[in-house]
């Protein structure tokens, strides 16, 4: 692969500021037997003072390895074989362990994707912030405490004295990420490395955290190296962008230039694959068949989770699904959109009866399945199938693809030879080689596995398909392909689909109608044009506004 698209920012100009961090020709080797020899090969870029530099790439592009190399945090099996990382006057790669330890926290700080596992569960958040200062021998216990309270306030956490005494598990994901940022700020570091800090967060929380990072960066004049896979996030905060593919930098430049006029085909492909909010409704070749009855009519569905004990007065009741009603017509897709904890996944599980509802009815082709016992419902299962979120967990690692596809039909009395033939047809239909039949799931990539998951759901020629976050775990380019596949399948088979997602952009691509859920209730539903261009409820407006890098309808 040539680096023709990569032009390291010119620093020869005498007026240009000195970079705070400059990476030259960095090559990091992977141990033998991995899929490629180098995690990153020959990458160079500069981080200028007061700038937010986004490193963007899909999974396996080497973006995280780059960040860890800067921190000197690479595992021993992965070695830097070439290049230099200059920070101020020090070469990080040549520095000893002591120097590095001092740099970390004092000069460079890092925040991680999962703030829960990055925080110590047994220490209060205040103590953890103070610990950063203590580890570098800064201040007295009193001054550290005062500074920690100041930082908690600075990152926008309410009631700092109370927050100081909280344990991480008591905080929400967004609050934990704020604590991580406070820790990173504790010593007035000049460089902040953020490794996918908003990926695990809800869209409204993500918008707040991005704003916080941008505010703090502007206020303190820090330099931020921001690692992400989401072009929406890049458009929100980046000053300059580095695009990575398979360990190489394919393109770099200012955010405007890369986003508006990408020069490398990979960047173009990535940007094209980013799902955009479409304010237009989905076109159907023929008008909806005027059927008197919907495929699925859900009325007043309720599911309540109880934990603790009634006896000891510690019972907690959470209404996961609280009186949900909707209709779904054959050949149409209903999107169920909401943030985590909104009850959208519980709703999906109720519809395929992986979980029993407390009250309400699910009329499937006119008959109520909500109250059916598992034994009676088993005969109906083939008609209602599900596509799962995690393509790695949803396929049995000990079964061949063939077994995974045929086991269901065979259990329902289909002769093996017939099941095998239709499995091979379906594999071709979802874009896999028919030779995949005899192979095991670990031989496939995430996107390929998700295709297997889709083929499994189609084995019975179902009437209703419930897709629970079916594309959330995939890279954007794969995401686009899977959405296209689902769309094609629906046009070919006329299956009705419930598409559950947290991503409004994805929902806008594939849904005829969208239901927005919040705390177990549907707060608004309607066609995409209404939801995105003319949202009626305040919550929907908030959701739409929080989507990174989007102006609705543009």
């Amino acid at each position: 692969m040539s680096d023709s698209g990569a032009h390291p920012l010119q620093t020869a100009d005498p007026a240009a500021p000195q970079p705070v961090l400059s990476m030259r020709d960095l090559t990091v080797s992977l141990p033998d037997g991995m899929e490629r020899a180098h995690a990153v090969k020959g990458i160079s870029f500069d981080l200028l003072p007061g700038q937010i530099l986004c490193i963007i790439g899909e999974s396996g592009s080497g973006k995280s390895v780059t960040a860890h190399a800067v921190m000197g945090l690479l595992p021993p099996s992965i070695k830097v074989t070439q290049g230099a990382i200059q920070m101020g006057g020090t070469d990080i790669l040549a520095a000893g362990a002591e120097t590095l330890r001092d740099l970390r926290g004092r000069k460079i700080a890092m925040i991680f994707q999962d703030p829960l596992s990055a925080l110590n569960p047994l220490m209060t958040v205040g103590a953890q912030i103070a610990e950063v200062m203590m580890a570098h021998g800064v201040g007295t216990p009193d001054s550290r405490r005062a500074r920690a309270l100041e930082l908690l306030d600075e990152v926008g956490l309410p009631d700092p004295p109370l927050m100081y005494r909280q344990y991480p598990f008591r905080l929400s994901g967004g609050q934990r990420q704020r604590v991580m940022i406070a820790m990173a700020l504790a010593l007035e570091t000049s460089i902040l490395i953020a490794d996918e800090p908003t990926t695990a967060l809800d869209v409204t929380t993500q918008a707040q955290i991005l704003k916080l990072i941008r505010d703090i960066q502007a206020r303190k004049g820090m330099s931020v190296m921001f690692i992400t896979h989401d072009f929406g996030v890049v458009a929100e905060i980046a000053d300059s962008v580095v695009v990575m593919e398979k360990g190489h930098i394919v393109e770099q430049g200012s955010a405007d230039a890369v986003l508006r006029t990408p020069s490398h085909p990979y960047t173009k492909r990535l940007i094209a694959a980013v799902p955009h909010l479409t304010g237009t409704d989905r076109a159907h070749p023929v008008a909806a068949p005027a059927k008197a009855e919907p495929l699925l009519r859900v009325e007043g569905l309720v599911k309540t989770y109880r934990s603790g004990s009634k006896l000891f007065g510690t019972e907690r009741v959470v209404k996961a699904v609280d009186g949900v009603s909707f209709d779904l017509w054959p050949g149409r897709t209903l999107g169920v959109v909401g943030e985590s904890g909104s009850g959208k996944s519980s709703l999906g599980r109720l519809l395929v009866k992986l979980m029993d509802s407390d009250s309400g009815s699910i009329l499937f082709e006119g008959s109520d399945i909500a109250a059916l016992k598992e034994d009676r419902f088993r005969a109906l299962r083939p008609k209602i199938q599900m596509i799962f979120q995690d393509p790695f967990a949803s396929l049995n690692p000990r079964s061949t693809i063939g077994h995974i596809l045929t086991v269901g039909p065979v259990a329902h009395g289909v002769p093996y030879a017939k099941a095998r033939a239709s499995a091979q047809d379906l594999l071709t239909m979802v874009g896999l080689d028919a030779g995949a039949f005899g192979r095991y799931p670990h031989e496939f990539s995430g996107g390929q596995r998700q295709r297997v998951g889709i083929a499994r759901a189609l084995m019975f020629e179902p009437k209703l398909l419930v897709a629970d976050e079916a594309v959330s775990a995939l890279d954007v380019s794969i995401q686009a392909q899977i959405l296209e596949l689902l769309d094609k399948i629906q046009r070919d088979t006329g299956v009705g689909m419930i598409f559950i997602t947290h991503d409004l952009r994805v929902a806008s691509q594939i849904c005829d109608e969208i239901a927005v859920m919040q705390r177990g209730k549907i707060v608004e539903s309607g066609p995409p044009s209404q939801i995105f261009l003319n949202p009626q409820s305040a919550y929907t407006r908030e959701l739409v506004a929080a989507i990174p890098g989007e102006q609705p309808g543009s």
Binding site: L354, R381, M386, F388, A393, G408, A411, D433, A457, E484
Partner: protein, 292 residues
């Protein structure tokens, strides 16, 4: 739309990561070599030795090791100890392995059902496991052995009945975490029956810990059999077992120490070897420990 590119050849099981890691575990390899040697000797040895294990030669009583063709000496009746040791090995190893198979089957069954069903079914099964664990197993074995006719089959069953609980606990914990995985949900979505999901979908994924527990159970069973036979409740003479050879040796500890040393060392060898193999398997199959 992309098509799966699957040009590379499929990897064979012996090229797998677990096998590689096991082969790097030196003690485990020693264990495998020792057990293989011991098993081969017990299977083929009695035919190769010049004396039958039941042949009594009163003129050669208490012969110390390396007298004539009595390589390991003779016992108080003048029987060749080498021949008896290998015949005893057949019994002891067979009892150990059969007890392991029985207890693993029972333990895995209870564990899978308890783990998958959960609720009151799981709770009562696991309380039963706790109840069995609460008995000091050695007294349970002795009491049962005293009541029942101590044939090798009976000893095997008795040992199995007192050692399945560990497997059950391990499997239950494993299945409980597997139960929440999406592929199990997918099995339910496909309308598979409960027993199909439990034994065909979940159980193969719990094989790693089961194999480790089973290996360690063999070691335990051999030790337990030796213990019971030593106390005189186990395998009855003239059928030799490592345990009752020790029993016969205790009167002559001072005058003919080799009577005790030979079976004693053999038991130690067998048990440590199985434990080494168990440790090696644990390290090889446990994805969380160390690099690949």
């Amino acid at each position: 739309m992309s098509t799966a590119s699957l040009s590379e050849p499929r990897s064979r099981w012996w090229q797998g990561r677990a096998v590689r890691r096991f082969a790097r575990h030196r003690l485990a390899l020693i264990g495998v070599v020792m057990i293989t040697a011991l098993t081969l000797a017990c299977v083929a040895g009695p035919w190769l030795l010049p004396y039958d294990s039941l042949y009594i030669d009163l003129r050669a009583r208490f012969a110390p090791p390396m007298t004539g063709q009595h390589y390991l000496g003779t016992d108080p009746l003048g029987r060749d100890i080498a021949a008896r040791l290998l015949m005893a090995g057949r019994t002891s190893l067979l009892v150990g392995v059969c007890a392991m198979v029985l207890s693993t089957l029972l333990g895995a069954f209870v564990g899978v059902v308890a783990g998958y069903r959960g609720g009151w079914v799981g709770a009562s099964l696991m309380r039963m496991v706790d109840a069995f664990l609460a008995f000091p197993s050695i007294f349970l074995v002795l009491a049962l052995a005293a009541l029942l006719k101590p044939s090798p089959t009976m000893i095997t069953v008795i040992i199995a009945v007192t050692s399945w609980m560990e497997v059950a606990r391990i499997v239950e914990a494993e299945v409980r975490s597997l139960r929440e995985r999406e592929f199990v949900q997918a099995g339910r979505m496909l309308g598979l029956s409960r027993s199909h999901i439990m034994f065909r979908e979940i159980l193969p994924n719990a094989m790693g810990p089961i194999i480790v527990a089973a290996t360690l159970t063999v070691a335990r069973a051999i030790l337990l059999e030796a213990y019971v036979s030593f106390l005189g409740y186990g395998i009855q003479p003239p059928l030799p077992s490592w345990g009752n050879m020790l029993n016969g040796a205790q009167q002559y500890l001072a005058s003919a120490p080799w009577l005790a040393i030979v079976p004693g060392i053999t038991i130690t060898m067998a048990v440590t070897s199985f434990n080494f193999i168990g440790d090696g398997l644990r390290d090889a199959l446990d994805v969380r420990s160390g690099p690949g």
